[in-house]
């Protein structure tokens, strides 16, 4: 059983990837000597950035044997929730009580060492996940069999293919026997066949009456495994209930907007920005993201045979070096279908140094590229240590027009359906031997 009560986790912005250089702290101490004396205070009112709640006042209860999915956009607090429940990081407020042994799988193959053999790594990884030596010994054959690495057991892991490594990692993890299992995105690895087997294994796990909290971007996986789901949004619990209901709310509310132009407060709310501690405020600011048709009007639905344009308006407040802008077209599970960036195009007008001012970046997505799908636009802007991410802020529909009069229905609902060159040439009479593959 898991009981979560008012759980909150606060970060200082910029705390994620950076570490402090002693200089910073010393600098802070010099500019404000009183802070050194009142150390407690210094922690709270950090010199760097605003405090940021990755998790805020989250409460829920999970009964023994329940399988609960956790969904939400990137940065909604899913991973933080798992990290707090796994005791990797401390909560700032609230409490959680977990009855039973807890196993957490935040990635596969944690602690694998390239120089050690597969056999050695199984023991090491098992121990890291909290398995006893005797337990690993008992399950050893099953682990090896599931991973399919029998012949390579005594080969150093650096000779493994990444697929083998992932399979072995998952296999060890799948044999962890704890009453509570916290799983993060483990299924997002390996080839399709292995993912299917992982999903199957996860189903077995859930049938054993264990309590599982499953974080995933894959809505398909959540649908398949979890009768109940939790939706997180900006660190808060947004919905908790039957999976289908929660997922449809997630898709409706969290992904995309109704409008083909996103600006103002709506844009603000859906933008995630982090910047380096050298600056007290963001260096640039995205003002508008829009989808335009060839006549320049904003639209949310396009025929597959018309081009459209992604337009990004931004204001640069201080000179920026090495500006980088990318647009992505993604599906509802955040898989990237298309990625394009300003540096791909030599004549974009991008300069090494961007002076303050208002700018507009545009990129034309050509006609005859997509099949019939609902897609989302994500924009990423970076420069001078600032990252700004607008994830899935606009959704749009493509209606596939076909390339001939009688295109097959089943070939319509794919993500990418370009018109490509084909040729057919006669090679000889029937009954004669097939000619060799000709040299050009």
């Amino acid at each position: 059983m898991i009981q979560v009560d008012g759980l909150g986790k606060q970060y200082k912005i910029g705390q994620f990837q950076r570490y402090d250089a002693l200089r910073d702290s010393l600098g802070a101490a010099l500019t404000a000597p009183a802070r050194l004396v009142r150390r407690k205070k210094r922690v709270d009112t950090a010199t760097r950035g605003e405090p940021f709640w990755a998790l805020r006042d989250v409460s829920f209860e999970i009964e023994p044997g329940e399988i609960v999915g956790v969904v939400g956009r990137n940065g909604a607090g899913k991973s933080t929730l798992l990290k707090v429940l796994s005791r990797i990081t401390d909560p700032t407020t609230g409490s959680a009580t977990l009855h039973g042994r807890v196993g957490s799988l935040l990635e596969v193959g944690t602690g694998f060492h390239a120089e050690l053999t597969g056999r050695e790594n199984i023991f090491l990884n098992g121990a890291i996940l909290g398995m006893k030596r005797a337990e690993i010994l008992r399950k050893f054959d099953q682990i090896v069999e599931f991973a399919g690495v029998e012949q390579f057991l005594d080969t150093p892991m650096k000779r493994y293919s990444s697929g083998m490594e992932v399979r072995l990692g998952f296999s060890v993890a799948a044999h962890l026997e704890t009453e509570i299992l916290l799983v993060d995105e483990v299924l997002a690895v390996g080839d399709a066949e292995f993912q299917r087997r992982c999903l199957g294994k996860m189903k077995d796990v859930t049938r054993q009456g264990r309590t599982v909290l499953f974080v995933s971007h894959s809505l398909t996986a959540v649908r398949g495994l979890c009768p109940r789901s939790i939706l997180l949004r900006a660190g808060r619990l947004e919905a908790d209930g039957e999976t289908e209901a929660v997922l449809s709310r997630y898709i409706a509310e969290t992904l995309g907007g109704q409008s083909a132009v996103v600006a103002g407060e709506e844009l603000e709310r859906r933008t995630r920005t982090s910047w380096s501690s050298d600056h007290s405020r963001p260096l640039f600011h995205v003002e508008r993201l829009a989808l335009l048709d060839s006549r320049g009007s904003a639209r949310n639905s396009f025929a597959s045979d018309e081009p459209f344009e992604i337009v990004l308006d931004y204001e640069v407040k201080e000179p920026i070096s090495g500006m980088w802008i990318a647009f992505r077209i993604v599906n509802d599970a955040q898989d990237v279908i298309l990625h394009t960036e300003v540096r791909d195009w030599a004549e974009s007008g991008l300069s090494h140094r961007t002076e303050p001012g208002h700018y507009r970046s545009r990129c034309v997505i050509p006609a005859n590229l997509f099949g019939e799908r609902r897609l989302f636009v994500t924009a990423l802007v970076e420069g001078s240590g600032q990252d700004t991410l607008l994830e899935s802020v606009i959704d749009f529909d493509i209606t596939f027009q076909g390339y001939n009069d009688n295109y097959a229905e089943w070939g319509r609902k794919v993500y990418v359906r370009p018109q490509l060159a084909w040729t057919i040439e006669p090679l000889g009479t029937a009954g004669s031997e097939a000619p060799p593959l000709a040299q050009r």
Binding site: V84, I88, P91, G94, T97, S104, G111, I128, R133
Partner: protein, 270 residues
């Protein structure tokens, strides 16, 4: 049952938790030892080559050229008996001071008592030590030096060397998680510490009034203890040993407390 709450104030060492995870401790130490000389040509021979080469260089420079006193023992054995604990100590300290950052993969992905990391990495030089110890025995036989009866106290000084390394390692590894400056300071620190420890010279060259101050460095007690247990005599061994134990205990207790206090945010920092 696990209760997760914001941590407040000073914490205990969490011995029960450490005991539960004792196998992980063993596996991590085993891993560090196992991969130590992987992908090197001479492999574990490095364990012997390092101190032996250092001994030759020091004997030529400090013993022969500079003519430093070696308390009446042949200079090579005088320096080698000190190089052994010094290498054990310096490997242990270097490894443990970066251990949290080096193992950031584990720290950010799995829970286990964090103390296991610096403690297990302290042991990574033990096998090296045992191998060079064989060289020492050969060297003593060559010079015809028989150890005194109190040679059985030697493990005490081995433990003291490791404890001192761990004490400093706890402080430095926790600091290094926050301030990456630490890992650049450690090599310098080790050089200074080396010359503040009587490895290449004898304590007899020091003015007597500084002896107490000098003895505050626990490694003085360790090195002199080694000479005392192996060669038969070392000046002021009683006082130095007691001082070393007291200092190490203080460092160890404060280091563990500081480590425990900051470990909760390791995952957010590294």
């Amino acid at each position: 049952m696990t209760v997760i709450e914001p941590s407040t104030g000073w914490l205990s060492l969490g011995f029960r938790d450490l005991w539960t995870y004792r196998e992980l401790f063993y596996f991590l130490a085993w891993r560090d030892i196992k991969v130590r000389y992987k992908q090197t040509v001479v492999g574990a021979a490095w364990a012997i080559l390092q101190p032996v080469l250092a001994m030759i260089v020091f004997s030529l420079i400090f013993g022969r050229a500079a003519g430093l006193s070696s308390d009446g023992y042949p200079y090579p054995i005088f320096v080698f008996s000190a190089l052994l604990p010094w290498q054990l100590f310096s490997t242990a300290l270097t490894q443990s001071s970066t251990s949290i950052v080096v193992n950031r993969q584990l720290v950010t992905k799995v829970y286990f008592p964090r103390l296991i990391i610096p403690v297990s990495s302290t042991l990574s030089g033990v096998v090296d030590f045992l191998m060079s110890f064989v060289v020492l025995i050969a060297l003593m036989a060559y010079y015809g030096i028989a150890p005194p009866v109190w040679v059985f106290t030697l493990p005490l000084f081995v433990v003291l060397a490791l404890a001192t390394a761990l004490a400093a390692g706890l402080w430095l590894s926790a600091l290094n998680a926050r301030y990456r400056d630490v890992q650049y300071t450690v090599p310098l620190l080790m050089q200074l510490w080396f010359f503040l420890t009587p490895v290449v010279y004898s304590t007899s060259i020091l003015p007597a009034k500084f002896e107490f101050l000098y003895g505050l460095n626990p490694m003085v007690g360790v090195v002199q203890g080694f000479r005392w247990a192996l060669l038969g005599s070392a000046p002021h061994i009683g006082v130095l040993t007691i001082l070393a134990f007291v200092m190490t205990f203080v460092l160890l207790a404060t280091g563990a407390a500081y480590f425990r206090r900051t470990e909760k945010v390791f995952a957010d920092l590294v």
